[in-house]
Symmetry: C2
Subunit: 349 residues, 2 copies
DNA sequence: CTGAAAGCGCTAACAT
DNA sequence: ATGTTAGCGCTTTCAG
């Protein structure tokens, strides 16, 4: 293998060029102090010598890392996967590196990750909290460290923070109202958890629409219990067993709707004829379902773009900016469900 | 806002405890030099004072970062999303931080990311190259920096490297052989690109199975052109227009199969009755398709686990280890397609 | 078991 | 326009 090669540093280039290493350092960074000719020369030489700057050293002395720490609950997941991908795109455009961490919906792990990120001296933080995070002490620590934070999607219930959310309440409201306009009156709601902002907001949107349209709330049609498929499957089965199936089911996440599809298939019920479905949250799966599942779409790219934009503003401004809350509008994405009122149950699939 | 707080450092703790900062440093890291009592005391005090170690400084002086750089082409993608998630899990278990970068299938971006990762002094690198990477100079640079690398899934055509691949050839071979055993003889193959290892290997598996079963290769049934849905859709349409549709289509990636589903739906052809499909690569979508799509499954968790295991071995060993090639076995995952031979085209959906 | 000195590679502040 | 001096916060010798 290649003989032990000494890694090139500023000094090496400086010596070769008979200048000081400060000159080299400045030239490499295009500092206005240095003449164009020198810059040119230094850059060329360092390139030729195979110089790779040592960011660790640079960070230590400049106290700036050009990195943004990111904490998400999941990454193999349509919503967060898209968010993360767009965050990477935007960071790249702005010459920032992202340090991504994944909490796996685990509060303790989340805390550890945030601590590590602080240790790494990230310039800013973008966080979507886990659904079990209840203790907010770590965010105090973050504040003490003077590292700006933008919360996205999953927001802690804390005053005076920067946040980007989608119009959870309005989006749900619109979907339910759309359904009611179609002629539906029996609408069930499969909720995640109300200790998390998205759970609270979306449910509020449902209730608001029902109330506005003067439909009574049937507590048996408001089920709570999770983000995942099993919850959808089991809840559907529960209603079926009790013989109190509604006409339409709204689910707070798309995996829950997938569970409903599964249950319907098992029971040989046809969607949307026997039971109709619509959900919050988009995923590529939906368009391949039979029938394609309609949803309230969250524009991930816009969320990510805004998050990077805001965190960079925070980083660049010396003074504390005003805390901001940005609400990104969702849109109703109609595919093959919730487009016509079903004609009541006909079990002849 | 909290009054400008000075960040606690080793010195502060040392002064408070009337010891030297070296003692504190060692105690915090549980160095055997220090007595248990001192360790206990130091840890407690530093905790109380809200000390957060400065990793930048630690890295600079120890020349060790406890980070692994990762480069993948995509992250909002079932395969890489799962890989990344598992990599995070494994890294976390081993107290390593991951620095993830996403090339977006762009060779130039990939090069830049690797350079940055080197600048950040990552202890090791796990890389899946983009499908357009042809210039391998950057990997020479990596070698010069003495940073160990494990290539996964997408492997450059370079001698003497560590790699983890799945049994692309055998997996495809098994699937095709299974189809032939079902009675299929007209089997088309939708390939990605043969400049990438996975493209070459999988195609070789197809050819091998066809040859073994003494079936002739029809060049019109071997189409090349991409990883994505459009390719599947268009290729299917092309065969349909030419009236040379086969009985079964094997696609090298699952999005291509999705494109086939779409085309079949458009043409009102029934899968698997009129045309059957199977693909390489699993995704959660597949089980919700109608019919559920069978595939050759790549065990992402095992790949990720092995990758972390190998890179840690490389990092921990002073001497260069022998280059290793690990092949992870795929498995045939049969769902609703390619389970019975279809009865020929009946266009009466 | 503890600590003093030196230095990791770079940049900021201040000369010149 | 270029260089000198200090020092970022920590760990690593090596000496006590």
């Amino acid at each position: 293998m290649a003989k032990k090669q000494h890694k090139i540093k500023l000094d090496d280039i400086a010596r070769k060029l008979n200048v000081s290493k400060v000159t080299v350092s400045k030239a490499l960074r295009g500092h206005p102090d240095i003449s164009a000719a020198t810059i040119e020369l230094v850059k060329k030489t360092s390139q030729k010598m195979g110089y790779v700057p040592n960011l660790t050293a640079r960070n230590l002395s400049s106290n700036k890392t050009n990195t943004i720490g990111v904490v998400v609950p999941k990454v193999a997941h349509f919503f967060f996967g898209s968010i993360v991908e767009s965050l990477y795109d935007e960071a790249f455009k702005n010459d920032y590196e992202l340090i991504l961490t994944v909490s796996q919906e685990n509060a303790e792990r989340e805390r550890k990750h945030i601590e590590t990120l602080l240790s790494m001296n990230v310039d800013g933080l973008i966080i979507a909290i886990s659904n079990e995070t209840k203790n907010y002490d770590i965010f105090k620590t973050v504040e003490r460290h003077d590292v700006p934070v933008i919360f996205i999607d999953r927001i802690p219930d804390l005053p005076n923070i920067n946040k980007i959310v989608v119009s959870d309440k309005e989006g749900t409201f619109d979907a339910i109202e759309h359904a009611i306009n179609l002629g539906y009156t029996k609408i069930a709601y499969f909720s995640s958890y109300t200790n998390i902002n998205i759970g609270r907001e979306r449910l509020a949107g449902y209730k608001k629409a029902m109330k506005k349209e003067k439909l009574s709330l049937n507590p048996e049609w408001i089920l709570q219990g999770g983000f995942r498929e099993e919850f959808g499957y089991e809840s559907f089965m529960k209603l079926y067993d009790k013989k109190i199936l509604p006409e339409l089911i709204f689910t707070e996440t798309y995996p829950v709707a997938l569970g409903v599809y599964e249950a319907a298939r098992k029971l040989k019920m046809n969607i949307p004829r026997d039971i109709d479905v619509i959900c919050f949250g988009n995923a590529d799966v939906q368009k391949y379902l039979n029938p394609p599942l309609s949803c309230v779409n969250q524009p991930t790219e816009i969320i990510a773009k805004k998050a990077i934009e805001m965190i960079l503003e925070e980083i660049d401004s010396k003074d504390k900016l005003l805390r901001r809350e940005v609400v990104i509008s969702t849109e109703l994405l109609l595919r093959g469900t919730c487009v016509n009122k079903n004609k009541g149950k006909r079990n002849d699939n």
